[in-house]
Symmetry: C2
Subunit: 318 residues, 2 copies
């Protein structure tokens, strides 16, 4: 049976079940807008990200994997702010409703929503070339958001996780036919799994809120994001790439440029190292110090004692 | 000069100026996410709408007109909830940055943001077929949102404004080359102006919050939206089309079906007529009573004493 737009939307909302319900949701999907209660003394944190086939995912990718990825990259922006996800809207244009792809996609959205504890507030469905825009809302206690503009001279520069899984995946160019459930258990070892199912550091980032100065999502590549952070903080950075955790099989210089790893780059006082390491252990988050914030408004990189210049970030229109 | 993505984003944010600043905005565009303070005892209202060329606007339309329309149709969803706009994110995919169209589009966004007093919280820019998704955040006092599920049997059914401007515009199929400023003064008389520059009833809707029972945005056409409202409220409606305000040159039956007029349909107790009419006068809002909420879960229409059956709403995929 081919459903019309309204029937499909109703079926999807029904399928999402408790993912559309929470104490903070006064009115969920199905009205002109969703109505949300915010807890006292919290600030709302809002971000949006669009995914287009063959730019943000291979056009032939399974719907469930694309669905998960669409949510995860938005969650990643909240993680980089130290915010806790609350809800999201999912706007999608697609050529036809008569495809299993939408059902798979909705399943991926649901798996990610459960994984990151983010509720589904609503969405939009219209005809057009495939395009997915997720807009996410989260919260932080008043004044506690992690900003890219707050790095301080002398700070350690920290990075979570490993860079290069995207590059490894794009090099392989495999088209995974595995289900989301199969891939979810392989995020640490399988580039395909890591590419489609990034796992933003939400819990860790919220726990380090009190000690972090500057923070940014590493979604366009380390060099690009570090340039954004130092520019916003009116400072520079001195980076040693020797300790950089690199996806197996890749070279360091391969992963410093364009690479969407959805890890968090953050800066903090040297005196807070013990606390950060303890919170990293507690939340199973690999972290490493890759350099220092400096006064000179320039970012310098060294590898094996030599000065190197990485390729800068991904420009969609380059 | 052709700018890259980041330069263009910076230039756009700079151009938006005070439209990115407000007491409630702790962090605006430029970080991983925006941070928003909500006033006490308010609920957050969230909605999203996508626009695709040749579905939601003619592909050849000027960027400023499309920009205004993108904001207005989102504001309309808030109006139908009785909410006051706070901020929005604008996500856009486009084939090339090297076009005046984006600058025009940003101007249209800015004019609408000023018109509806909604601030710009952030956005996303990526390469792809033209697609615009605006996600809007507003607020209502706790428990005061106007819901489509709250119509009560015996209620008057009210409608703001006039239906049919979209139909009139699509019949004309003119491609306006007038600037947004020229068209803004012609919304009441010119179908093109009304199509591109809808003027949601934000102020009126927020003022009638205490007396309205059920409410819905008439963005898919009267018959379709009335079906949604009665379904959500588990009731029916008896509608007399004789008093329906119709765009000049059109017939009543032309405008009851698919038509995106961005007016508000709402229901209220008969005893509240004087108050509603007074608030309508105060806010220069044309209103009319078009029928009554009935217990029988069916919507019946009469015109000149005869029973009529309108075409139902717009299905993007039909």
């Amino acid at each position: 049976m081919v459903m019309n737009e309204f029937e499909l939307i109703e079926q999807l909302i029904r399928g999402f079940g408790d993912l559309t319900k929470a104490d903070f949701i006064a009115t969920g999907p199905g009205d002109d807008a969703a109505v949300v209660n915010l807890p006292d003394d919290q600030q709302l944190v809002v971000s949006t990200d669009t995914l287009v086939p063959d730019v943000h995912f291979p056009a032939e990718a399974r719907g469930d994997l694309v669905g998960f990825r669409s949510v995860a990259i938005n969650v990643s922006d909240l993680a980089a702010m130290g915010a806790t996800p609350l809800g999201m809207t999912v706007a999608m244009t697609i050529d036809s409703l008569a495809s299993d792809w939408i059902q798979q996609f909705a399943h991926g959205i649901a798996v990610a929503a459960r994984e990151f504890n983010v509720k589904i507030l609503g969405g939009n469905l219209a005809r057009g070339p495939l395009n997915i825009t997720v807009t996410i809302q989260g919260s932080v206690p008043n004044g506690k958001a992690l900003l890219r503009s707050q790095a301080q001279i002398g700070d350690d520069i920290w990075l979570t996780g490993t860079l290069g899984a995207t590059r490894a995946f794009l090099d392989e160019r495999t088209n995974p036919q595995s289900s989301i459930e199969t891939l979810l258990s392989r995020q640490d070892t399988c580039a395909v799994a890591r590419y489609f199912l990034p796992h933003p550091r939400v819990e860790f980032a919220s726990k380090i809120r009190d000690v972090v100065h500057g923070a940014i999502d590493v979604s366009d590549g380390l060099a690009s994001e570090l340039a954004h952070l130092t520019k916003a903080s009116q400072c520079g950075a001195s980076i040693s790439l020797n300790g950089l955790p690199v996806w197996r099989g890749l070279n360091t210089m391969d992963v410093v440029g364009p690479d969407d790893s959805y890890e968090v780059l953050f800066t903090a006082n040297e005196g807070d190292r013990p606390q950060i390491l303890e919170l990293a252990l507690l939340t199973y988050t690999p972290v490493v110090i890759i350099g220092e914030v400096v006064a000179d408004q320039n970012v310098s990189y060294t590898l094996d004692g030599e000065s190197v210049i990485p390729q800068t970030g991904f420009d969609h229109f380059a």
